[in-house]
């Protein structure tokens, strides 16, 4: 239960195809592999990149996670969420 575990999960989702496949098919089962607090898992599952950044997760990881996993894969949508959250 740490931001480090969040970064490990996001790193895997950014660079590993098998992680992306697993997350897309069963997010909860995939996220259970990591030492995540329930709220951390929820933020990943819900693509809450603003919330993740508020917990000091690297923006490099949140953007890579979004662009490689979010259904829209839109940088504009990504930035809109951050800006709406006042980041």
């Amino acid at each position: 239960m740490s931001s480090e575990a969040v970064e490990v999960a996001l790193y895997d989702l950014g660079v590993k195809r098998e992680a992306r496949t697993g997350f897309a098919s069963d997010p909860d089962a995939f996220l259970a592999r990591y030492a995540l607090a329930p709220e951390e898992a929820a933020m990943i599952r819900e693509f809450d990149v603003a919330g993740l950044q508020a917990r000091n997760v690297s923006p490099l990881l949140t953007m890579g996670f979004w662009m490689m996993n979010h259904p829209g894969k839109s940088r504009t949508d990504y930035l809109d969420q951050l800006r709406a959250a006042g980041q």
Binding site: V8, Y11, P59, L60, T62, L79, Q87
Partner: protein, 277 residues
């Protein structure tokens, strides 16, 4: 004895290279022209080896292992990302000189991390393929990565000192290599942050002015907090530029180009550092 015959600072913004050159707008062609200038100058300098100092973007190295500074001493491929017309296969390394830089550094207080096999990202792969390898004189590209994008960061002064260690190692080598050092990094840019797309031209030009004047002091005085405030998290990559300056201490240079367009993520600065004092 090896010789550092020149240095350059340049950006590595990947978005510039997703558009095929034949489809590029005039402002993008101007940026490509700056890369061409660097390429041509490397050839005119008769460089045999190019050392590219880049930044990982949390792609090559994960949270489990984040090297402070790393050198590729074995096989090298890349870039990791696909760009139209740019290969991803082997990048010839100068293994002998790379290993010498590692050994010389470790004997003199610079404990390099080593990669025996390395697939580089755009920060090293693009300058290698666009500026270095098109020159027939260049037979090897040595990749160096600094912790300049991902926490914990290499202290900026240590990045400068590492440039000096690279220079000392090159000059202590038993070869006649003619070496160019490239510091690869955007200047102001907010990667993955809400301000992504903003630039700070005043900051960018201040950095380039320091490079051209051969004066690292104003850059070494910047705290990371100040850099992020003025130039975003991507601005932390100025460590790579500072490392190149450290390899050519006190040397002055010339501005090649500065470009700043709303569509681009970073302020794009190009400069040459001359070997002659």
């Amino acid at each position: 004895m090896g010789t550092i015959v020149g240095g350059f600072v340049l950006p590595h913004e990947p978005g510039l290279f997703f558009t095929p050159r034949e489809a590029a707008k005039p402002e993008l062609l101007e940026v490509h022209g700056a890369y061409d200038k660097v390429r041509d100058r490397i050839g005119e300098l008769g460089a045999t080896t190019v050392i590219v100092v880049g930044a990982d973007h949390y792609v090559l190295f994960g949270p489990q292992c984040l090297p402070n500074f790393l050198i590729g001493v074995g096989d090298v491929t890349g870039p990791y990302e696909r760009f139209p017309g740019i290969g991803q296969d082997e990048i010839p390394n100068n293994r002998e000189l790379a290993r010498h830089i590692l050994d010389h550094g470790r004997a003199n207080g610079f404990d390099w991390a080593a990669a025996k096999s390395l697939r580089v990202d755009h920060s090293v792969g693009l300058p290698a393929r666009i500026c270095a390898l098109p020159n027939p004189s260049v037979t090897g590209v040595i990749p160096v990565y600094l912790a300049s994008g991902v926490e914990p960061l290499i202290p900026i002064r240590r990045a400068y000192e590492l440039g000096g260690a690279i220079r000392a190692a090159v000059e202590a080598s038993g070869t006649d290599e003619r070496v160019v050092v490239i510091g690869s990094g955007g200047i102001s840019h907010w990667v993955g942050m809400s301000r992504m797309g903003d630039h700070n031209e005043a900051f960018d030009r201040m950095v380039l002015d320091c490079v051209v004047r051969g004066d690292p002091a104003p850059l070494l005085a910047l705290s990371d907090t100040e850099i992020v405030h003025q130039a975003g998290n991507g601005g932390l990559e100025i460590r790579n530029l500072v490392c190149a300056m450290g390899a050519m201490p006190g040397r002055t240079g010339d501005l090649i180009a500065y470009h700043d367009q709303p569509d681009w993520v970073a302020g794009l600065g190009f400069a040459e550092i001359h070997a002659a004092a």
